[in-house]
Amino acid sequence: MKENTPSDGLVDMNVAEQSFESMVHAYSKDLYRYGYWLSRDKEIAEDLVQETFLRAWRAIDSLNDAKAAKSWLFTILRRENARRFEKKSAQAELTTLDDEMVEVFATVDDDFASVDGMAVRAALKELPVNYAEPLVLQVIGGYSCDEIAEIIGVKPGAVMTRVFRARQKLRTLLEDEGQLASM
């Protein structure tokens, strides 16, 4: 049996393909879910993931650190989602958390054990995207506020405020639906 030794270019391509395939299997689910909570649409979410991985493949040589792959992909998807909108409206950013709000939030004794999952999803859909996004990155992506700040391009303080407001708003929505029984 005659063997051809692969040229260097083909070997590199094979390594790149294997890395890419590993990334797809490792991150496609979380990316889809991130895309869904950004767009609130399953078809758009799948399109976003497809486009993200295509862009990632084209730029795979630029990824020097495999550990950074997940954040890299989340950032690409975020930009892909942003391309869907013609204008980006600047929003006034509250960068500090109000102490009183934190105290009030912390002292209410909620019972989360009985909350219905569908009700939580409905409430998540009602959150403004700029509140939902950092919360999704925190809960599904497992990122810290500093890491989220890097991905979405705001200050860490702004991320903390948005996450807090997201949780606060969710609690209000669930209370209004009778889902939260304060003990």
């Binding site: 049996m1 063997e3 270019g9 797809v24 299997h25 993931v49 004794d109 939580v120 903390m160």
Partner: protein, 238 residues
């Protein structure tokens, strides 16, 4: 270590519950009220995670990989053109010794047969799959096809036991011949052949350098004729 007060602790718990700072950990030991708040937020986080983890469409990863391979096919890369210049010496891998083996049938054989039965309708496909598309499917598995392999009437990716493989149907002498290539290797000995035992299909598994190739047909004559067609090609692979 600086002590943390309740306000600082609650601010962190409200915004970054996975914070692992020693100061927060110590405060939660000392303050039952903040600890209770922390535990409630952990429960809420768990509920949130479950709600956010919506079902992912079936086959998403496979579709992403197919799109990536098709996009590779479309790009005009100098390296690829140079590779095609070598096409005269690059042929589909062929088993050297087509002798039956007494090795027990590996589990992947059963999985491939079941997959073909599940997808039985594609045996009736009548496309004319271009060679370049065939090779795009085969390339990740380290094999490439030459023109004399014959007419492919169906070609696509498939998932078998969570492995992404290539599934190609060729026009056979009497009945179609199916070729499936998967990453799992049945043997470290490249070229080792194992017969597939099934009441409906005649078949053979061949170990490749980067996986396994299966050939199956409902007609033994068609299978043998196709194997001869492959054997007459050069035995070079990537």
């Amino acid at each position: 270590m600086d002590e943390m007060n309740c306000l600082s602790a609650r601010r962190i718990i409200s915004t970054d519950i996975k914070d692992k700072s020693p100061a927060l950990a110590q405060h939660l030991i000392e303050c039952s009220s903040c600890k209770s708040f922390y535990e409630r937020q952990v429960k809420f986080n768990h509920t949130l995670k479950q709600a956010m983890e919506i079902d992912v469409p079936e086959g998403l990863a496979a579709r992403i990989l197919v799109e990536q391979k098709l996009s590779q096919n479309k790009s005009k890369v100098v390296g690829k053109q140079r590779w095609y210049a070598m096409a005269a010496s690059i042929m589909l891998v062929v088993v050297v010794a087509f002798t039956s083996s007494l090795t027990p049938q590996p589990a992947i054989a059963g999985a491939i047969v079941e997959h073909i039965k599940d997808e039985y309708s594609i045996l009736n496909d009548n496309q004319d799959v271009p060679l370049v598309e065939l090779n795009a499917l085969l390339k990740p598995h380290g094999v490439q096809a030459h023109e004399n392999i014959g007419r492919a009437v169906h070609a696509g990716n498939c998932l078998i036991e969570e492995q992404l493989g290539a599934h190609i149907v060729f026009e056979g002498k009497n009945k179609p011949v199916t070729m499936v290539v998967v990453p799992e290797k049945i043997s470290e000995n490249t070229g080792k052949k194992i017969d597939i035992n099934d009441q409906q299909f005649e078949g053979v598994l061949v170990s490749l350098q980067r996986g396994t190739l299966a050939l199956l047909s409902e007609d033994k004559e068609s299978l043998i004729e196709f194997e001869h067609r492959l054997r007459e090609s050069l035995t070079t692979y990537l």
